[in-house]
């Protein structure tokens, strides 16, 4: 039988100080993805393997891991797209480990809560009229499935103990700021409170995004630019005060 070898990180922090990689032989099937291999291990070789997964269709954002060192969704990583040889699967490293491939990403829930919410302009005639072009602009960011791969790959988050919220949260702010009827601007918050200044635009987040959101070009850079303009440019400040009064177009 044609098989593949997967080397999977194993550790139960409640019992073990150190983790280890364990090799498993899994039958190769056409079109299989890394998650199929993990499920095979759980069902047929070692039921103690823990992983978080759900939809198997790249929509729920549960099964984030590092596959051959690259942050990826296990349900989308096709075995035949990986270079031959042993496949290395480890948990995303930016977050505390719960067990094996499962990490505690809950600090993101608290960060998301701090970003100012959608605040529609007052006095709009109902039902609202919005052009499709404007809908598309905010929809790109709303596609985010919260897999946190962008957070995982971000060297600011991985290597520095900064107060940068991370790319996912800039995308969230952008999704609200780009809504044509939203009345507030989050760029100042993102810069002052969410540490956006720490991002030095290496674009790693954009590269790993399974939803192909242009995180750096369309979310981070515009949020940075707006913050700078709003903070230091008197003309922009005037525009901002007008926009807040009259609503932005």
């Amino acid at each position: 039988m044609d098989t593949i070898t997967v080397s999977v990180y194993r550790r139960d922090p409640s019992l073990e100080k150190e983790g280890k990689f364990v090799d498993y032989e899994v039958p190769r099937e056409e079109g299989m993805v890394v998650l199929d291999a993990m499920k095979y291990i759980e069902k047929h070789i070692d039921p103690s393997l823990s992983l978080r997964w759900n939809c198997m269709a790249g929509k729920c954002g549960s099964c984030s891991a590092e596959i051959n060192y690259k942050p990826s969704l296990m349900c989308k990583a096709r075995i035949d797209s990986l270079k031959s040889g042993k496949i290395r699967v480890s948990p995303i490293a930016a977050y505390p480990l719960i067990k094996d491939l499962v990490t505690d990403v809950s600090e993101n829930w608290a960060l998301l809560k701090r970003i100012p919410k959608f605040t529609p302009r007052e006095g709009l005639e109902k039902p609202w009229r919005i052009s499709q072009v404007d809908i598309e602009r905010s929809k790109e960011f709303k596609k985010c499935i919260e897999c946190f791969l962008c957070q995982d790959v971000c060297h600011v988050i991985r290597e520095h103990n900064s107060d940068y919220f991370g790319p996912r949260h800039v995308v969230k702010a952008a999704s609200l700021d780009m809504h044509p009827l939203d009345a507030i601007d989050r760029s100042e918050f993102m810069n002052k409170d969410a540490g956006l200044g720490y991002c030095n635009i290496t674009k790693c987040c954009t590269e790993v995004c399974p939803e192909e959101i242009h995180i750096t070009d369309n979310a981070i850079i515009p949020e940075k630019e707006r913050a700078v303009n709003l903070s230091y440019d008197p003309l922009a400040m005037l525009v901002r005060s007008r926009r807040n009064k009259g609503g932005k177009k």
């Binding site: 139960d12 922090p13 409640s14 019992l15 079109g31 759980e42 069902k43 039921p47 103690s48 393997l49 823990s50 992983l51 978080r52 997964w53 759900n54 939809c55 198997m56 269709a57 790249g58 929509k59 729920c60 954002g61 549960s62 989308k76 096709r78 719960i98 067990k99 094996d100 499962v102 505690d104 990403v105 809950s106 829930w109 998301l112 809560k113 919410k117 959608f118 529609p120 109902k126 039902p127 609202w128 009229r129 919005i130 052009s131 499709q132 809908i135 905010s138 929809k139 709303k142 596609k143 499935i145 919260e146 609200l176 809504h179």
Partner: protein, 571 residues
């Protein structure tokens, strides 16, 4: 260690219905109610995110749509098994609630004049599916989740596996669960609860459902003596992608996609001359299986013979704009870009029309307990749901359950005391589950269950298959009590979860197959080859299944008709 929480309201499930209920309960309670929302997954990843095509609502009465038309479409789609009073209420409420979502940031697609756009959907005689590309449910979930975050008095509990409801003397007192990341037992004491745990789709192997939809809420309700209604009616969505079963939205056909057999024929012209590919799902699925059984399909892997969904009439531009996710799924999972190639499809288990028997406000009959969304059966969908009606139902009736339960809580002054029996049952449940009771493998039981359901309770059913299936399922129920959970660690123990889910599934399978066996007629999604006609004289009634005296009791209840008398269902 057991941790005990004290709440006024506990909402189980964080899909569209649960989220919507939490918001409305918080609003109605106006800061006076302590609310918990708990789910076995991370809260923002419910199965509702997989809803693709749209949410039905009458928005343009000036252009020819009307409440009566939406209601009639729904009634006819249900093959007359819905309760028409509830449907009439639903269609009037849906537009208000769907437009409200826009104020919570949901990016509805637009017409050229900036007003909300709608797309055609199967069985609807007017294009009334309000949509946000082909990820409607996803955007709805995230919009609702964000809105929920505005309310300070809703506590959020991710990854809690609920294994029981506490009900004493027909009064709800809370739920028991374990925290998946730590294994810690938790009792959520609450004066009221809303069950929003979704359907039972993972009874089937070939399905569009996420892994987590294992009918936990329904199975617990059954064990606790509550009534399940019309549970034999399972919708098979015509276009599950072969071989995974992943959903390809009906929006494809709404936008002009065509089903073809191996000869290239547009076979739906034969079965539904007027609506063709946009006939209701039960009819399209049956027509597809007829073609496949007549040998006009393509040979597929593992017996999954299939037909083709042809995108060519839609055009590359429109596919890229309105069906981007379908395109990505095609490219990624079968290596086919619908812009140049049709996709292989076959009917895939998709929706549970039945559920916990509730009144129009979602009340279950157990004091303090409501249900909403797919877990509930309000009898809107009868024996076959129309596409785009489920997300609307979740929003409309999630809201009502939230409001109704909160109002009741504000007027109810009782306190909850747990009996010693309930407390020790809660505490010992997991320890008991870990005890070795035999050498059966829970994963293997699930595999047998899947192959049985896929074969015996699929699109075409008959006495012999159902009887045979029931025998196997009873054997599985027996085996499910004789398993060993080999992994006994506390932390993120999926082996334990898989075993408990498997138990829930096999017990529900018995109800589905039994109810199907007893319904000796063909109606909506339930087609009996040995009774191929609808039989209004004997079966224009709801099936009610309930555990009683150690067995399963099946009784019936009349259907509520208002304006529309049953007639032949032609499309």
């Amino acid at each position: 260690m057991v941790e005990i929480f004290d709440y006024d309201l506990v909402i189980i499930g964080s899909g569209l219905a649960g989220l919507r209920a939490s918001i409305e309960a918080a609003k109605t309670g106006n800061g006076k109610l302590k609310i918990a929302i708990i789910a076995k997954n991370q809260l923002m990843r419910p199965h509702s995110i997989s809803a693709e095509g749209g949410s039905a609502a009458v928005l343009y009465t000036d252009e020819g749509d009307s409440f009566d038309l939406h209601a009639y479409d729904t009634v006819k789609g249900s093959d007359y098994l819905c309760d028409q009073d509830v449907v009439e209420y639903f269609v009037r409420q849906a537009p208000l609630d769907i437009l409200e979502l826009e104020h919570w940031g949901i990016p509805w697609a637009r017409r050229d004049d900036g007003r909300v756009a709608q797309r055609p959907f199967g069985g609807h005689s007017y294009p009334r599916a309000t949509f946000a590309a082909d990820r409607t449910g996803f955007y709805e979930v995230h919009g609702l989740y964000d809105t929920m975050l505005k309310y300070e008095n809703i506590d959020k509990f991710h990854e809690q596996f609920v294994y029981d409801f506490i009900i004493e003397d027909n009064k709800f007192k809370g739920v028991t669960a374990f925290d998946i990341p730590t294994g810690e037992i938790r009792i959520f004491k609450a004066r009221a609860g809303i069950v929003a745990t979704g359907g039972l789709g993972r009874l089937f192997g070939y399905t569009t459902y996420s892994h987590l939809v294992t009918g936990d809420g329904l199975a617990i309700a059954l064990r606790r003596g509550m009534r399940l209604k019309d549970i034999e009616f399972v919708q098979f969505h015509p276009t599950g992608l072969v071989p995974s079963g992943i959903l390809i939205t009906e929006g494809v056909r709404g936008d002009g996609g065509i089903l073809r057999n191996a000869k290239g024929e547009r076979f739906m012209e034969k079965y539904a001359p007027t609506k063709k590919d946009l006939a209701p799902r039960d009819i399209v699925s049956r027509s597809m299986m007829t073609e496949i059984l007549e040998g006009k399909g393509f040979k597929g892997p593992n017996g999954l013979d299939y037909l083709l969904l042809d995108f060519s009439a839609i055009g590359a531009e429109k596919i890229k704009e309105k069906l981007s996710q379908v395109r990505e799924i095609g490219n990624h999972y079968v290596g086919l870009d619908p812009v140049d190639s049709p996709l292989p499809v076959r009917p895939s288990a998709h929706y549970t029309m039945g559920g916990i028997d509730v009144t129009r406000t979602g009340f279950t009959g157990v004091t303090g307990l409501w249900a909403a969304g797919e877990a509930a059966c309000l009898s809107i969908h009868g024996s076959n749901r129309l596409g785009a009606n489920s997300t609307s139902e979740c929003v409309v009736f999630g809201k009502i359950a939230g409001e109704d339960s909160a109002k009741w809580l504000l007027s109810d002054i009782s306190t909850i005391n747990l009996s010693e029996g309930e407390r020790s049952h809660a505490e010992n449940f997991v320890a008991d589950a870990y005890k070795d009771k035999g050498d059966n493998d829970p994963y293997e039981i699930k595999r047998v269950l899947w192959s049985t359901m896929d074969k015996d309770a699929y699109v075409f059913r008959n006495e012999r298959d159902l009887t045979e299936g029931l025998k196997i399922i009873k054997g599985l129920i027996d085996r499910s009590g004789k398993i060993s959970i080999s992994e006994k660690g506390n932390v993120y123990n999926q082996n334990l979860i898989a075993s408990l889910e498997m138990k829930n599934l096999v017990e529900l399978a018995e109800v589905v197959v039994n109810s199907a066996l007893e319904r000796r007629e063909s109606r909506g999604s339930h087609f009996r080859t040995d009774y191929p006609k609808r039989d209004d004289e004997n079966y224009l009634k709801h099936t009610i299944a309930q555990r009683a005296n150690g067995g399963l009791q099946i009784t019936y209840r009349p259907v509520t008709l208002t304006k529309w008398k049953p007639e032949a269902r032609v499309y």
